[in-house]
């Protein structure tokens, strides 16, 4: 069975969701779990729950990275943080993958430095999985703010995204799109026009330019873009979902005077929210580092942590990294970058 280490001090409500998520994952048989964090506190949390016989182990870490910490400073100043301890366990081969719901910048920086980049990868990229209106999933990368990308970085993203999607969702040749402002080839900016030429040479199911709306309509499975665009896209989506939810709640509660109507509508709304719940997708993988690193939202609940542990184990089992190195070493891409 795979061993996955969880940074137990990452979520806003840490370590509760981490401990509970670890227990659920261990109980379902997804993985053996290491919890990195303060020994005493984590022991107490575990003993309060019925977790004695589960394959869960605590690895002591005396410090925790906070949202106020700057990424590189957190790395340098907190050598015994739960985050850095988790990354070290992966680097030393004592765990097959790591999960953290902490400060995203700090997790990315720590993972990049401690784990290092895969052979052939210039820019590890954060990939966000989205639900689509077709009921399928789409993955957008980079959302981790590799800003001012060059065209060949977008090609790396496409290769990594394709392999990841295949491993996790079982689609042999996922359709790949380049995020632009129109489907026609001449539409876009300097970066996308240059990347389009390179992406067409890839041995992959590349469909050309796609538009913002194609993220959610199920037209493609993998969408690549510069990290600035991807991060803006992600945060706009989060903001819009929040705004829509709050406006809708207002409308519902002001209209539904009848109690039965309100209860029914609330149930429909909960079903709807479950459909678009990111926590079902188990976090965002940082693709391109040596090892498995899944980054979760700071507001993650136990379910999100459990799913992230599952995804990390699948990532390791699917040999995603070996395939990325092999494909990036492939002749065609060697030519592209030359």
């Amino acid at each position: 069975m795979r061993r996955i280490v969880v940074d137990a001090m990452g979520t806003d409500a840490a370590p509760g969701p981490e401990v509970e998520g670890a227990i659920q994952a261990a109980r379902e048989g997804y993985a053996e779990v290491l919890l990195a964090g303060p020994q005493d506190r984590l022991s107490r949390e575990l003993s309060r729950r019925d977790a004695q016989r589960l394959p869960i182990e605590i690895v002591h870490a005396s410090e925790a990275v906070t949202m106020a910490d700057k990424a590189t400073k957190a790395f340098r100043a907190k050598r015994d943080s739960s985050l850095r301890v988790a990354a070290r366990l992966v680097h030393e081969g004592k765990a097959d993958g790591m999960i953290s719901a902490g400060n995203t910048g700090a997790v990315m920086t720590t993972a990049k430095i401690v784990l290092g980049a895969l052979e052939g990868v210039d820019r590890p990229a954060l990939a966000q999985v989205f639900p689509t209106s077709k009921g399928t999933a789409a993955v957008l990368l980079d959302v981790g703010a590799n800003v001012d990308c060059k065209a060949h970085h977008l090609v790396e993203f496409a290769v990594m995204g394709e392999i990841y999607y295949r491993a996790i969702f079982g689609v042999e040749r996922p359709r790949i799109g380049l995020l632009s402002i129109g489907q026609e080839e001449h539409k876009g900016n300097d970066l996308t026009r240059e990347a389009l030429v390179l992406l067409k040479q890839l041995d992959a199911n590349f469909v050309g330019n796609v538009e913002g709306r194609d993220l959610y309509n199920g037209r493609v499975e993998v969408v690549v873009c510069d990290g600035f665009i991807g991060n803006v896209a992600l945060k706009i989506s989060e903001g819009l979902v929040e705004a829509v939810s709050s406006l809708l709640k207002e409308a519902l509660s002001s209209t539904l005077s009848s109690k039965v109507g309100y209860v029914l509508a609330r149930k429909a709304f909960q079903n709807f929210k479950k459909r678009v719940d990111y926590s079902e997708y188990g976090g965002a993988p940082l693709l391109g580092v040596k090892g498995v690193c899944i980054i979760c939202h700071g507001g993650s609940n136990a379910n999100a942590i459990k799913n992230a542990i599952r995804v990390a184990a699948e990532f390791a089992t699917g040999k995603v990294n070996e395939k990325i190195e092999r494909d990036l070493a492939g002749a065609s891409l060697g030519n592209l970058k030359g």
Copy 2:
């Protein structure tokens, strides 16, 4: 009273929504309306409705631009298109402003060539008005695909957006944000870091970097960005609203077995949709051209056209263009661009 010319052949269902919107606007006293398009057809449409005594006049145009036409080609090949006739009437001072719901690229190109740019404006910009969860409006520019902008273009956008927002929404010093990937000054890409320095020197209520979620939470009134980002942001928002609507409808109809619950929830949903209905905001102004040009969605209904006519009249009355030229000629900005 202001005279506004409507390209009557722009919407997907043209000329119905244009004629009906013109009648509503004229009836409400927003403006005198000129309808540019085929004389016979428009006369028939008008006579079928009770429009005899309203200040509406037809200006014949024998051609129409379609969605299949490329922007510059449409301009050159169709010299007597309803779009070009509308722009010409504004240029010749026979109308105070124009509305078109046609091919956005063709409208922008035609307006830029026929009307020309205001003194001091390098890049006219399309501004999209959004509803926020606070019930206020926010305006994002450029969404019209001025790609690969320079920092000083973003300063132009800020000046134009501020003046427009003040004129239409009556807010004396709207808060202006620069769309980036974090509020901290060091976050962003090469363009935003350079623009941040310039924007801070503006005599305006500039709040610094904002994130994607701030478009919808009412934190700022004016958001500036490169046209590639703005266009992606716009289309992601449209796509997400569509996806959310369809998922929600599914959830509602599968949950609400009780008829009364369904009827009530549907009413709530309609109220909600009205709150986020772009058509209430009357289209997107192309800021920075000599004259008033409002671009509407191809799917606009009569209400959207009516509101666009109202906004065009307010734009002209608010002397937005005179103020843009004056502010851009201001000493501080002169220094910025030097």
